[in-house]
Symmetry: none
Subunit: 249 residues, 2 copies
DNA sequence: TGAATATTTGCAATATTTTGCATGATAGAT
DNA sequence: ATCTATCATGCAAAATATTGCAAATATTCA
């Protein structure tokens, strides 16, 4: 049997079944597992399949590339994300809402950190798929087309059944006087439920959102424990928030 | 024996068998392996075959060059998707599992069809976000990194609370004798729950998956109402399934 | 035709590739 | 945290490739 032949057979098995076990293929082709392992490694290098522990999976299956490249204030959001992940520790149960800032946080979470991550955001969930040590639980429910997160009774109910250590609560508007606010009523409900489940609430927010208000209120500013912006914590814009008792990062 | 003659014979063997072993040809033509080696090298230079260690393979043999977006048998899957959406009607409640074929179905669902769509697949859900008239409900739960769908008690529990009109149940393997089967035990549980919730179960499956079996059984073949492949319904491959009472599309 | 020249072939020596196995390391599951 | 299956690595044996060379064969041209 030529190596080339084996490669073709392996690729075909992967294409048809999306995933294969190394030992199965070794039996099928009657060669040692080492050989198949080398084959798979080689095919992986050629980007013809993806090698995983115990076998291989097809490429087409496993990649969604959300190429949202034109995110507003991306560098600020990345800066915020960098600060945010410093709050994470092994073993924590975290809650990530949607929004582009939280997606940046999700991207930056170290793959080897052992976390349990709850999220109602499709985009955040997809970022988590590449991180084997993170157990991701998706909060099910009706999907809001605009915000790409789940909303409604089911989601809130599921949130009421969990207790999380820390919640990264993206928001539209944050103000010392009016607290956190949002323009979508359904999302407000979900975010309120999130605040209730979480011991610590972190608000990652670009400075532009500071001191703005929207139609529906989520909570008072005191409900937030930590405020993360792209600014230096000493920046005078942040002083009013510090004065209300928020930690500034 | 003329060189030209050998070349023709070698090319023909390659055409017929897709691959040849150098030693086989040397024996067949009763010349030294070195000669055949040189022949093959020359034919390789002329791009008439591909020389590999131990022999040669035909050029068409190895033409799988996936781009990152490439999905195996995409045209077949699109064909299946086209047939599948004919089953959809305004007002229905449908259930879409994961897998690349179901993603194609999701893409093809007309944006203006008023459906309620339940799914445990992140990819399917994302496809649905662009369709304003479709209410999408995500079945929450623990995310399986490999399959990109939610699994576990929460997902199964949520499934037990709904009744859907039609379920498009993607699967890894389908066989008249062994029924539907899958590679991953957790996914089997979810799919069983899906079958229970749904009045009608449709199995969209490329023909290559027919008559194959994986380690865990989902259900007997009779649990499927409609089988959709890229083949003509009259194709003889499908007859055993029709004989078992499945509708063929 | 016949000698000069070019090509092809087989062979031997050496190099490279492939494969399976042994070993210790690692990842995943329980 | 422990245990098992899987993985990476180095190694040696076998298979295959490469190279140079000389003999055999074919081709060219006088």
């Amino acid at each position: 049997m030529l190596k080339e032949e084996r490669h073709q057979i392996i690729l075909n098995e992967v294409r048809v079944h999306n995933r294969i076990l190394l030992t199965d293929i070794a039996n099928l082709l009657d060669v040692s597992a080492d050989t198949i392992r080398r084959d798979i490694k080689s095919l992986d290098n050629q980007k013809k399949l993806k090698k995983v522990h115990g076998g291989a999976v097809s490429l087409g299956f496993n990649n969604y590339n959300p190429t949202i490249e034109d995110i507003y204030a991306l560098s600020e959001k990345k800066m915020i994300a960098k600060k945010a992940i410093q709050l994470l520790k092994d073993g924590q149960v975290i809650l990530l809402t949607g929004g582009t800032t939280n997606i940046e946080i999700a991207k930056l979470i170290p793959a080897r950190l052992k976390l349990t991550c709850f999220t109602p955001s499709l985009q955040v969930a997809i970022q988590m798929l590449n991180k084997p040590d993170i157990e991701t639980v998706f909060i099910g429910g009706k999907l809001s087309n605009n915000s790409q997160i789940t909303i409604g009774g089911n989601a809130i109910n599921m949130l009421s059944q969990i207790k999380t250590d820390i919640c990264f609560l993206g928001t539209n508007s944050i103000s010392c006087i009016d607290g956190l606010s949002e323009f979508d009523w359904d999302i407000v409900q979900v975010k309120r439920a999130m605040i209730r489940t979480s011991s610590k609430v972190v608000s990652p927010s670009i400075s532009e959102k500071l001191d703005s208000t929207q139609r529906y209120k989520i909570c008072e500013i005191e409900a937030i424990d930590i405020l993360i912006t792209e600014l230096e914590p000493s920046n005078s814009l942040l002083k009013p928030y510090a004065d209300r008792g928020l930690s500034i990062l």
